[in-house]
Amino acid sequence: MSHHIVEVRDVHFAYPDGTDALRGISMRIEHGESAALVGCNGAGKSTLLMHLNGYLPTQLGEIRIGDIPLSRGTVATARRAVGMVFQDPDDQLFMPTVAEDVAFGPLNAGLPPREVEHRVAAALARVGMTEVRNRPPYRLSAGEKRAVAIATVLAGEPDILVMDEPSSNLDPRARRRLIELLRSFEHTKIIATHDLDLVLEVCQRVIVMDGGRAVADGPVTEILGNEELMLAHGLELPGLLRRRNALP
């Protein structure tokens, strides 16, 4: 796949209980771009993310990953291209040791043992977690768990990184480390978050979601600095910008 592009075209989705989660959302995220999905709770962010690796099938509309439309036949390819970091690392780390957990994806891809070992070592080194490789994941701190969860995804060498609330439950230092880590990735990134300060530091582009639609889409300072827009969609100015505005 030469172009790490994610395109969402007029996607609708309703849960079986009748909740309309997505009502015709469209966006196109280009190669190497780092985009944030922001919006209040229930805006449809997580539902959209679950569409991006084909976990939820599109009911109406189309999703294209790197110019290939997502369908039953292409979902395996899409999952290899899209690395998904889930909100709760405990859901993601289920093997007895960190190393085995990181190896889970590459082993499922059918890679030879040497390549798997190489990927595990590289992914753990990348997130600075080499020293915990033989510990059980549930013994780690929240920050370490998050880093390992990211390593499990990096080991699959995805082109596109999709993250749901990467900075939740992290202490300031772990959050800072996460931000530095995210900034160092050259992948196409899609980050759903409420941490608007993180968005300011990591992303170039912001998509505001409300009621299952994309209501605003543009450069980060333009969108996050628009107080009227932010308040209208259940958000607020990020702390960094508020402080800057407050300065004489």
């Binding site: 889930f86 289920f94 007895p96 085995e100 013994r139």
Partner: protein, 319 residues
Amino acid sequence: MLRRITIRCYVLPQPWRTGTAGVAGRPWREGVRSISDKDRATTGAAGTTLFMKLADWTELGRMDELACMDSPVHRLDARTKALVTLAFVAVVMSFPRREISALMPFLLYPVVLTSAGRIPARQIFRKLLVAAPFAVLVAIFNPVLDRQPVNIAGPFVMTGGWISFSSVVLRFVLTAWAALALVACTGMNRLCAGLEQLGVPRVFVVQLLFLYRYLFVVADEAAKMTRALELRSGEKRAMSLRVYGSIVGQLLLRSVDRAQRVYRAMKARGFDGEIRLPDSPRLHPADAFFAAACIAFFAAARIWNIADMLGSMLAGRPA
């Protein structure tokens, strides 16, 4: 490399041993809140029973750690150990219903496996205790139904019922111990992969694997709910039926949700129902030796009553 880790897992502080209000093997996950036995006695009765069950499950979580240790028994192939365990169970079950003495030599197998695998005995015994009521229930009516007196040794006479009861319990100890030792020195993932290689249909293997994985998921949710309940129930001891019903219902729904999230995460990383291991298991000469030695011993102990023979030898009279 592996050996080094082993030792490290082994000397880590083990708060679960002193009874910690944790969440399925992760006592410090949401802040450490230790509950001593005294505290436990004063918390709600219904909550306590649930908690006790959880504490036992928590011990189960240690099986994975035990399985990552290194010992000659750990190095044996999962298939060998599974087959030998199966043979062991079959032979133990094949004895007549009132047999006790001939079963005794079979204790040697789980004892050797446990000690060679350096598995702490209390790990095994606690789990045996948890499962014991089931075995006891199965045999509990034997003493009532079968009152025929049987001469056991010299002046001692027991009813046939009590003998068959003891036999059932002994068989339970033998088989459950062997199975626990198998899991403790193999690990569920390896064991399941081994079973699959042996030709057990994948549907069953994956079922088993998920049963084991989700056990912790359910225990985790239950621990959280029980804690929330205990914290808000004050001095009240008993749980009303209404609350109990809603807790059990919630537990089911929450576990289904959680299980779905875990499954989603597995899917996202390409899980397709096949269990893959980093190093493909290979049979070594040690496997053949272990299997041959065990099977020979089982056969010998099945044919001859070794305990009786030893006793006769010591007493100096012909068997």
